[in-house]
Amino acid sequence: MADTISASGALDAVSVTLTVNGETRSIDIPPTVTLLDLLRERFHLTGAKKGCDQGQCGACTVMVDGRRVNSCLQLAVMKDGAEITTIEGLGTPDSLHPLQAAFVKHDAFQCGYCTPGQICSAAGMIAEGHATTAAEIRELMSGNLCRCGAYTNIVEAIEEVMGAERAPKLEAAE
């Protein structure tokens, strides 16, 4: 049988259970709620930003089951059971993720609004493993716009982290 969660009243809340940054959370929400709004407005994880809300800027990028996606285009109800990682789950002020540290070191932002999305997207891109050159980083990060134009430093920060991650593997291969 189809699992008809809301048969008549369109505003009926539906129950959704997600693992967010390692913590299992359940909540009743209308089916219209996007993953981005769930994270920001209900779970108060405001790292992921609402830039365009149309999947055009990348500021809302988070990881769903390990893959980077635009959370503004995901309906939360459809992600029932998924594992979500936001910028808050990547690092903390006391223990920065290597990408966060590299963004600080390379001054890879100005206003900072796009930064959580940039860093989640970069983490996703490194995990995907298809970028090896600066040109490929630029192409595969093209879903994250930076209105301040910090692209040069963003690419340098990502290159540094990728270089550091590659180094041990190269040594192991020798």
């Binding site: 369109a10 009926d12 219209t32 809300d53 990028t61 995901q74 309906l75 109800v77 093209s142 879903g143």
Partner: protein, 338 residues
């Protein structure tokens, strides 16, 4: 966004029934286009039938030596599948030319076929649009039409289909598998999308309740002699003004078979078999490629802002055929065109 009810289907049959029973229902998978359109109130489904849990996420080899791609295979998984990269690099390249990595991770194979036009007027509910509201008119014909069609348009609609992947699928001669209330059927790729005519509200030839279950690729051909050349207003993450999928099979020194399809120029991926036939038996040369371009564009018509697309398409066709013949396909991360 208008409120809606939500149904999670657990089988293809259930999904079909749920949509057949509710005239306001729509299928949803990746949601990268539908959710966007719902936010603009362009799409206002009363019910969404979630098909993401259906078992349509595999890429399987066919007895004929091709591949059958499940409708729910994400665009990124398809582009990077080692069989696709090895045997259908034109398809892989076209997918990677489109959207962003995040969108490709979410968007599905079936959904890519079903994405709607990016016409500004279609997206703006404050303006008339024959596709969104049949009979209301087409402001694009005399309005801002830089991104609009130069081939196959009608008085009712000059919108284009935005997909890159579909241009490659048209060139490769794919087949679409669908299932509906009356059972299963297959549709040749060229017949899946349609021209606007007097019914621009219909993007494709699916019937109510039919669901795309798979896209089948024929046995691989063309080796390194292919390219996907996409031209747009910025270097990445933008829809095509003109794109060209080209593939050539050489027979000794001459062209044994050619495939040629364009994106960004029509209401559907624009494959031109007359232009393909014109190349058969010829030595690969600029003059042969230019003649093929002339054939593709023989009935091209601009609407003002998009007049430039006719010459752009002519040159892009010649350049793409040259890349295909030389076995030097465009690399999507490389922003210079060889």
């Amino acid at each position: 966004m208008m409120n809606f009810s939500y149904t999670r289907a657990t089988s293809v049959g259930e999904a079909i029934q749920a949509v057949v029973q509710d005239p306001q229902a729509r299928f949803i998978a990746g949601g990268t286009n539908l959710v966007d359109l719902m936010k603009y109130n362009v799409e206002r489904p009363g019910r969404l039938v979630d098909i993401t849990r259906l078992p349509l996420d595999r890429i399987e080899e066919t007895p004929g030596g091709g591949l059958k791609i499940g409708a729910l295979v994400p665009n990124s998984d398809l582009a990077y599948d080692e069989r696709i990269e090895r045997d259908y690099p034109l398809l892989s390249s076209a997918i990677l030319a489109g959207a962003s990595a995040q969108l490709r991770n979410a968007a599905t194979t079936g959904g890519n076929l079903l994405q709607r036009t990016r016409c500004y007027y279609f997206y703006d509910v404050g303006t008339p649009c024959n596709k969104r509201e049949p009979g209301s008119g087409c402001p694009a014909r005399t309005g801002v039409n830089r991104i609009h069609a130069i081939l196959g348009a009608s008085d009712a609609c000059i919108a284009t289909h935005p997909s890159d992947m579909c241009v490659a699928l048209a060139a490769l001669g794919a087949t679409v598998h669908v299932e509906g209330p009356d059972g299963e059927r297959t549709i040749p790729f060229s017949d899946f999308h349609r021209l606007p005519g007097s019914e621009p509200e219909k993007d494709n030839t699916l019937s109510r309740g039919e669901i795309v279950t798979a896209v089948e690729l024929p046995k691989p051909r063309f080796g390194k002699n292919h390219t996907y050349l996409k031209l747009r207003d910025r270097l990445s993450y933008a829809f095509a003004l003109v794109s060209v999928a080209a593939a050539i099979e050489l027979d000794g020194d001459v062209i044994g078979e050619a495939r040629l399809a364009l994106g960004g120029v029509a209401h559907k991926p624009w494959r031109d078999e007359a232009a393909e036939a014109s190349l058969k038996g010829k030595l690969p040369s600029s003059s042969a490629f230019e003649e093929a371009g002339d054939i593709v564009l023989r009935n091209a018509k601009g609407h003002g802002h998009n007049d430039f697309k006719i010459e752009l398409a002519r040159r892009a066709i010649a350049r793409a055929l040259g890349q295909a013949a030389a076995g030097t396909p465009q690399v999507q991360a490389n922003k210079s065109i060889n």
